[in-house]
């Protein structure tokens, strides 16, 4: 606030110096034309020099101060936006396409800088300086002052205010189009390889271009509109100057205005036309700031209430009457599932049967109805401290292996991290390796995800197909590690490698969103044809080898 006030004062001083420079100069040479003794001009001569220097100095001060505070404000705002995204959770965030979300957090947030540098500071300074100019003018020639005041009021305030509504609609649409361009670009950049092979590069570029062209058209219209307000500002200033001359010239003739002051009366509104255009420019900037703010509020108002984990009953994970919807249909129908402490439980079924939806609900990544209960004596009620997990395709962040491992359990010493890597067969990965520069393979990523999850000592472990992307030998090793690690905890796992489940305490078979059968491995072999056939298929394949 203090800095903004300082910036406004500096901006006003800049405007005032510019006006002072021209009007004093005009007065000086008018007075000089009367050939007075040089001494009487001394003050004016010094002032002209001073104004010349102070204009530059004040402008410098204004720009440094206002940009500094605007940039810092943006950093704060962006951080808050991220928090809002985090709070909204994936349901909220998934409603946004990646490019759109990034555009909001980056470019739209940056537009807010203009609020200080291009709206508040110049507008406030222009109003302050214009008031001063009107007062000076009033002192010299009241009718001329009235002319300037009217021009300022009409072109500086009324016209921009009228244009504001139309401009706002255009600016809002322009930002939406920019976000659309960026979403398409971000998909294009990310999936270029497949687009190249499919031969759809041009088609995708065309889509980018269509949105970009629409944006250009809208922005051009907005530019014409703001150009018109600028034009109005300039024309009004011209009228104020002519009007001022029309009333001041007779005043000189009848002696009510001193001759040398005529130049001041004429040049003051001339140099003050800058103030009117500054206001018109600020109005255009305000439109963009407001539309950016509207888009940011879109994020801040995202809300996806995901039920908390319930804490009661005996130790373990218990799912009661769980329902999950996707788009317009229910994909999980009121299922119950028990994973008591110390037991290994699997959830299996055809691809697309609803396994991942159940897992996502347990992890709190989708909205659901029903209860996810974690019983037992463990501390805390936060889902993240009770349930640790490897999702189907764990995201590896573009940072070091160390930071990636610490994502779950926090600042764990390197020794422990190395042990965790060893357990999943990733001993060859250096903790300092930048996984953005030297990416992991699919199988390595899967295992790093497991190492990361196992570092967190939570009573419940959820693993979504932990052995995919792994060769048989490595997969067997990973299953062994999992069995070692979950001692005394509750494990819920999905997999298609059904033969891994022989030792599991219980297997739930899901189909079409409902539990069809549950029991031990043998019980499932008896109870489910699908299970029997799938196991046979795998055994058959393994035997030939």
């Amino acid at each position: 606030m203090k800095r903004t006030l300082l910036a406004i004062a500096a901006a006003a001083a800049t405007f005032a110096s510019a006006i002072g420079l021209v009007t004093t100069g005009g007065w000086l040479i008018s007075e000089a034309a009367l050939r007075p003794p040089l001494l009487t001009l001394e003050v004016a001569i010094v002032s002209v020099r001073a104004f010349g220097i102070s204009r530059g100095a004040f402008r410098w001060l204004e720009r440094v101060v206002s940009h500094d505070s605007a940039l810092h404000a943006t950093v704060e705002r962006r951080t808050q936006l991220w928090m809002a995204l985090a709070k909204a959770g994936p349901r909220g965030a998934w409603g946004l396409r990646t490019g759109d979300a990034i555009t909001r957090v980056m470019q739209d947030a940056e537009l807010l800088q203009d609020r200080i540098t291009r709206v508040i500071v110049p507008a406030a300074a222009a109003i302050v300086t214009a008031s001063g100019a009107v007062l000076v003018q009033l002192h010299l020639q009241s009718l001329a002052a009235l002319c300037f005041f009217a021009a300022f009021l009409v072109a500086g305030i009324m016209v921009p205010a009228l244009a504001h509504r139309i401009e706002f609609t255009a600016a809002r649409r322009a930002l939406e189009e920019r976000a659309l361009v960026n979403s398409r670009l971000s998909a294009f950049v990310q999936h270029r390889d497949e687009m190249r092979v499919l031969g759809v590069i041009d088609a995708n570029l065309q889509q980018v271009a269509v949105a970009d062209d629409r944006r250009v058209a809208i922005e051009t219209r907005a530019a014409v509109l703001s150009g018109l307000t600028q034009w109005a500002a300039l024309l009004a200033s011209g009228l104020a100057i002519v009007g001022g001359l029309l009333v001041a010239v007779p005043a000189v003739l009848n002696g009510s205005l001193q001759g040398p002051h005529l130049a001041v009366v004429a040049l003051l509104p001339w140099s003050a036309s800058e103030l009117i255009t500054a206001l018109a420019l600020a109005a255009s900037a305000l439109v963009r700031v407001r539309s950016a703010q509207a888009r940011l509020q879109g994020i801040e108002q995202l809300d996806a209430p995901i039920p908390e984990v319930e804490r009661h009953g005996s130790a373990g994970l218990f799912i009661r009457q769980l329902r999950v919807r996707w788009q317009d249909s229910e994909v999980v129908h009121a299922i119950d599932l028990d994973v008591p402490r110390g037991q290994r439980v699997a959830l299996v079924g055809r691809s697309g049967a609803g396994k991942s939806s159940v897992i996502s609900a347990v992890l709190g990544l989708v909205e659901y109805q029903g209860s996810v209960i974690v019983g037992g004596e463990d501390d805390g009620s936060a889902r993240a401290s009770l349930i640790t997990a490897v999702p189907q395709a764990p995201h590896i962040f573009r940072t070091t292996a160390r930071e990636n491992l610490r994502m779950a359990a926090g600042p764990v010493p390197d020794e422990q991290l190395r042990r965790a890597l060893n357990r999943v067969g990733l001993a060859h990965i250096d903790l300092g390796r930048d996984l953005g520069q030297a990416p992991l393979s699919g199988g390595e990523a899967q295992r790093l995800g497991l190492a990361r999850a196992l570092l967190l000592e939570a009573p419940v472990i959820v693993l979504d197909e932990p052995t995919e992307h792994l060769d048989e030998e490595t997969a067997a090793g990973i299953m062994a590690t999992i069995h070692d690690e979950i001692w005394g905890r509750a494990l819920l796992m999905t997999t298609h490698r059904l033969t891994d489940l022989r030792d599991f305490d219980r297997i739930y078979i899901i189909d079409g969103g409902s539990i069809m059968c549950s029991g031990t491995f043998v019980e499932c072999l008896m109870g489910s044809e699908w299970f029997r056939e799938s196991v046979e298929w795998r055994l058959d394949k393994a035997r030939v080898d």
Partner: protein
């Protein structure tokens, strides 16, 4: 940093348009400012010294009003035109750059920041900076000549101070160059990180780490702010210096005129006119300084974009005959350093080759290299005697099917994902889906960028079905049966067998036994020592 790159003008019609429009409106505006200054000076001096009434000054007042009108209009037109050119130049350049990236093997990470905000920043450069640069040459010369005719003494000051400004600008450009590059990399970095974090948001939420990343975003934001402020400080300071040169010159002129007036060496009308005109001479020069900081980011983006834009793909060889085999000759591949010992192999028509090897050995990387999506480190991949990299892009890719581990299905309906721009009837689409074991999915089902309702296994099979609708000679599949059930696995194996029987070259990265068994040839990779 060069204030104006001829390459940019050559490339962009819109930039040429902006410059042409600025030259025209700039000349009109300069002429009008002369009339305006002369008329205003005449009114003031005649009313003041000769006590002429308004009636006698009508001509001058009308001339002033007309000149003011012309000038305001010319400036507005210039402004709007330049904005429009800026927008168009940016859209065209974005398209060119994206197309160049689309033909290249360049890494994707830095591209999004460059294509989005980097190219956007060029708009300010084209719309605001470039016109002022043009005016900064035009206006001083035009108005300077007029002033020289009327008051040579003042013109001397102009001649001395004006050349200082371009020299000064060149110095600043040189001085800010590295600071600007740093600024761009810090801004680009934060965009990359936010993208990475957003993509990994589900993982962050599982571990409740999303909020703690705010600290990282804050830190990177502060870094970017410091880098930006460095650039701004330099450019504000230089703008201050330019402004000082300009205003002090005007002040000296005013004093000079004042002193000569007292001694009667010049008349008031001329003096006033010069006084009004002098700041106009310096205005575009001052504007160049003022816009500099806003334009530098665009200039830097242009610098970053240029190498890719300049890239020419010379590959234009064609093959007409059906492919016989895909040969790998002493092939070394990897990102930077070779992952395995050089591989030599011949993959024939009508065979299924599986690539096996330990996790992380480079199976997927080999597949990308075979697809011609990344250049080998050494050796080559050839078909019918042509190096894959020398083939015309379409001539090659039209024969290739490529399904990576996490396939892209686009943003639209299931039908769109399947046809991907080609003609295919609903019956064909459904048949292709059925072949991969996806029986009752509606073709109108929505597919999302991110997750969108389909399981990973389903997405992979949809991607396979897509190539069943095309006729491919070579199929490169990365673990097509990962995350699918036994039934679907059987269906997929059947599709592979179909392809093989049709005479295709099928290459599969495989972990599962079933897939390895389906192979007619196994390519086992070992980590390089």
């Amino acid at each position: 940093m060069r204030p104006l790159d001829p390459e940019l003008i050559r490339r962009s019609g819109a930039v040429k348009g902006a410059i042409a429009a600025t030259v025209f409106t700039g000349l009109v505006s300069a002429a009008a400012s002369v009339v305006q200054a002369a008329a205003a000076a005449a009114v003031i001096s005649r009313a003041f010294l000769q006590h002429q009434p308004v009636a006698a000054l009508t001509t001058q007042l009308v001339a002033f009003a007309a000149a003011w009108f012309v000038r305001s209009t010319a400036n507005t037109v210039q402004d709007v035109w330049a904005r429009r050119s800026g927008l168009r130049a940016v859209a065209a350049l974005r398209r060119d750059l994206a197309a160049a990236y689309g033909r290249s093997d360049a890494a994707p990470e830095a591209m999004f920041p460059l294509l989005s905000r980097g190219i956007d920043a060029l708009e300010v450069y084209v719309a605001r900076y470039l016109p002022q640069l043009v005016l900064a040459i035009l206006v001083p010369v035009g108005l300077g000549a007029w002033i020289l005719r009327n008051d040579p003494w003042t013109a001397v000051i102009l001649v001395i101070t004006i050349p200082l400004i371009p020299v000064f600008m060149a110095l600043i450009g040189w001085f800010t160059d590295s600071a600007v590059t740093k600024q761009w990399s810090s801004v680009s970095r934060i965009t990359e990180v936010v993208t990475d974090l957003f993509t990994g948001l589900p993982d962050l939420l599982i571990f409740d780490r999303a909020k703690s990343q705010a600290e990282l975003i804050h830190k990177l934001g502060s870094d970017a702010t410091h880098a930006t402020m460095r650039v701004l400080r330099i450019s504000f300071l230089s703008s201050f210096a330019l402004e000082l040169i300009a205003t002090i010159s005007v002040a000296i002129m005013a004093l000079g005129i004042g002193l000569r007036l007292t001694s009667g060496n010049i008349d008031l009308e001329t003096g006033l006119m010069i006084l009004i005109l002098a700041p106009e001479v310096y205005l575009p020069l001052r504007q160049v300084g003022t816009q500099f900081h806003a334009a530098v980011e665009g200039m830097e983006a242009w610098k970053q974009a240029q190498p890719m834009l300049a890239q020419q793909r010379t590959a234009a060889e064609y093959i007409d005959a059906p492919l016989k085999s895909l040969k790998l000759r002493d092939l070394s591949f990897g990102y930077g350093s070779a992952l395995t010992a050089p591989v030599t192999a011949k993959l024939k028509r009508g065979t299924v080759t599986t690539i096996t090897g330990h996790s992380g050995v480079g199976k997927s990387t080999l597949l990308r290299t075979l697809a011609g999506l990344m250049a080998p480190i050494a050796g080559e991949v050839t078909v019918s005697g042509h190096s894959v990299h020398a083939l015309d892009e379409r001539a090659w890719f039209d024969r290739v099917g490529y399904v990576p581990q996490h396939p892209w299905l686009g943003h639209g309906t299931l039908r769109d994902a399947l046809t991907s721009g080609r003609e295919a009837s609903d019956a064909e689409c459904s048949a292709a889906l059925a072949a991969v074991g996806l029986l009752d999915l509606p073709l109108e089902a929505r597919i999302d960028d991110l997750s969108g309702g389909f399981s990973v296994g389903q997405r992979r099979r949809i991607a396979l079905a897509r190539y069943r609708l095309r006729k491919c000679d070579i199929l490169l599949l990365d673990e097509p049966t990962a995350a699918v059930d036994a039934e679907s696995e059987a269906a997929i194996l059947h599709v592979l067998e179909e392809w093989r029987a049709q005479g295709a070259i099928v290459v599969v990265v495989a972990h599962r036994q079933a897939l390895v068994q389906a192979a007619t040839q196994v390519l086992h990779l070992e980590r390089a020592r």
